[in-house]
Symmetry: C2
Subunit: 363 residues, 2 copies
């Protein structure tokens, strides 16, 4: 999507032909800075510190990390070590694991001398795939926004989203925001309520994206969504997901579950947009089978922003002696999800719904 009129992506191969450039998302929304990644270690750190973040993006980033590792050592043992390092960066993400497993298998089927070139080709291919997936999710989700626009004469259509599932979380387009961008480009008046998404405030990334694309939006604290829905100010919710079970349970950023409850209580449709790579076909129950990543408590105690001198700074928020705990995700049960927006279409959040779109997963 655009930043100041210029098309930009979240990750791309550098002009030198081997290193990789990323947008450092920890600097956003106050500063747009790119970082050059030259090693496995740098990429693993970029993923764990969330310089790159979002399920689809970290899948691609991890594969580039493996490609960088191979330049040093393309042996099977080195591949396994690098794969383990990358899979450990974010325990909840299923498609990071999926992408790394896929690449590893294809690498092992090739001679060591061919592996580096193949890894880069693989990364370029899945990058194109992810962009196409976002484009299609946008297309299928657009129909839901058109329906909301037709249902009432009030303009604009009000969409609420949590966290960032925009182009910054993918390569381009995004997942939850792809339908929003499509609707905006199609001339449908649309306005997005952006949850700030404590503790890391990824909502500000969403606001930054939307602002640069010219999409009207308003930031609200995570507490506000229930009131907005009660007041009839939300036509539909669309969020992303880090992992979706085969039964349609959705593991997404902490707080998603609360918005889904409010949507249900106020008869607001609650959709989850996802590339099918984030479906974990091996599990059914999100609450029982998905381990919830617990991140550093310092993300709660401290916050980053812009000081009055225009410089990036951070503050201690909490009382000195008080402990905090920081669960990064929660599970929204399928019963609260109106539908899943995938690259193949929209389906019910259920095993049957998913299998209708992905029949190759039957049996």
């Amino acid at each position: 999507m655009n930043v100041d009129g210029r098309p930009l992506r979240t990750i791309w191969p550098a002009a030198d032909g081997w290193s990789v450039e990323i947008i450092d998302q920890t600097r956003l929304p106050h500063e747009l800075q790119t970082v050059r990644i030259e090693s496995l270690e740098q990429m693993a750190k970029a993923i764990s510190t969330m310089q790159v973040r979002g399920a689809p993006l970290i899948g691609v980033a991890a594969c580039y990390g493996l490609a960088l590792a191979l330049r040093r050592n393309a042996s099977e043992a080195a591949i396994d070590r690098a794969a383990a390092t990358l899979c450990a960066t974010r325990p909840t993400a299923v498609n990071l694991r999926g992408r790394i497993t896929e690449l590893r298998e294809q690498l092992l089927a090739r001679r060591a001398a061919r592996r580096v070139a193949f890894a880069y080709e693989f990364c370029a291919r899945i990058t194109d795939e992810e962009v196409e997936i976002g484009r299609r999710i946008g297309e299928h989700g657009l129909a839901l926004i058109e329906k909301a626009a037709a249902l009432h004469r009030q303009c604009p259509v009000n969409v609420l989203t949590h966290c960032n599932a925009g182009w910054l979380a993918t390569i381009d387009w995004g997942t939850a925001l792809a339908p929003v961008y499509r609707a905006h480009l199609a001339g449908i008046p649309i306005h997005v309520w952006v949850d700030e998404t404590r503790p890391r405030n990824q909502g500000y990334l969403t606001a930054w994206e939307l602002g640069h694309q010219g999409v009207p939006h308003t930031i609200v604290v995570d507490n506000a969504g229930g009131h907005l829905m009660q007041a009839g100010e939300v036509d539909l919710c669309v969020v992303g997901t880090d992992r979706t079970t085969a039964a349609g349970d959705v593991c997404n950023k902490i707080g998603t579950y609360l918005k889904a409850l409010a949507a249900k209580d106020n008869a607001v449709p609650f959709y989850v947009a996802l590339p099918s790579s984030s479906v974990d076909w091996s599990i059914a129950s999100g609450r029982e089978q998905i381990p919830i990543e617990r991140r550093s408590d310092s993300e709660v105690h401290e916050v980053a922003g812009l000081a009055s001198n225009g410089r990036a700074a951070s503050l201690r928020l909490t009382p000195a002696e008080s402990p905090a705990v920081n669960y990064a995700f929660d599970v929204t049960p399928a019963r609260l999800v109106s539908g899943l927006i995938t690259e193949r279409g929209v389906c019910e959040a259920s095993t049957e719904g998913l299998l209708t779109l992905f029949p190759e997963r039957r049996g």
Copy 2:
């Protein structure tokens, strides 16, 4: 309650016999500073900027503001002007209005020369009343915590609270926290999950209070409560309220409704603690009849904390061009409330429940 072993209240008459001292709650949790208030204007500002906050406390503070105004001019016209100024400071609070109406009526029934002394006596009396109300709420709520402690052998009892309804929101004891303090003093092992409560982070006041009293607690972001309840980590929720309708709808800090939904979905009891002065007997439906205060958007855009040099500082959080909106309260429908903890006992959140405890309100 105690701060560093020393009993402290939120507001008290100064040694000079006429001015009033308050804890400046905007400096907490990082600095304990008291401020001397000498005029109506200073008190109105202290209330609107939330140097004093919490329904019971601002009722008392407003009456002191009226007493200070009378020292300058004790005429009926001056009383009316001062009352209007004070009632406009926080539109949602019903007991501020109630207390001011009560004091105004009693003042008008007296000669101008007697009014100043009467106003100070009135303030002293309602201060004692509020402390006694907190004590009783604690007593009645203690039974609920004892019940939770008896229900399972897991120690401690885990209570989740939102915002600050502790002694800082009252004069002493608090409302939602009064039962917690009583349980802690009674030796029941108890642990409190403290919602940080964006945008103003009053949860840090709760954490500060609990820490100084020695009550184990953990700060969580507002997004986390749903996950904690799903995971069985919450035995009961107790929150305060700014206004309760005659039908038991509860208007409390924005985000309360989301926690009540999660409590319902996970069969966690959800209690609201309140002095009966915060019941608005004139209205039934919270959603339709309570105007929701919209506070400055800057509370969302900026945040206060402690810089690395130990000084208080604030940061800009949001992207420069993105608008924000800041609704301060939401309404939790009575159907989501397990019970109301009042100074007269615990009742069902319904007209019938309230009238059982307050039969003088019938008809």
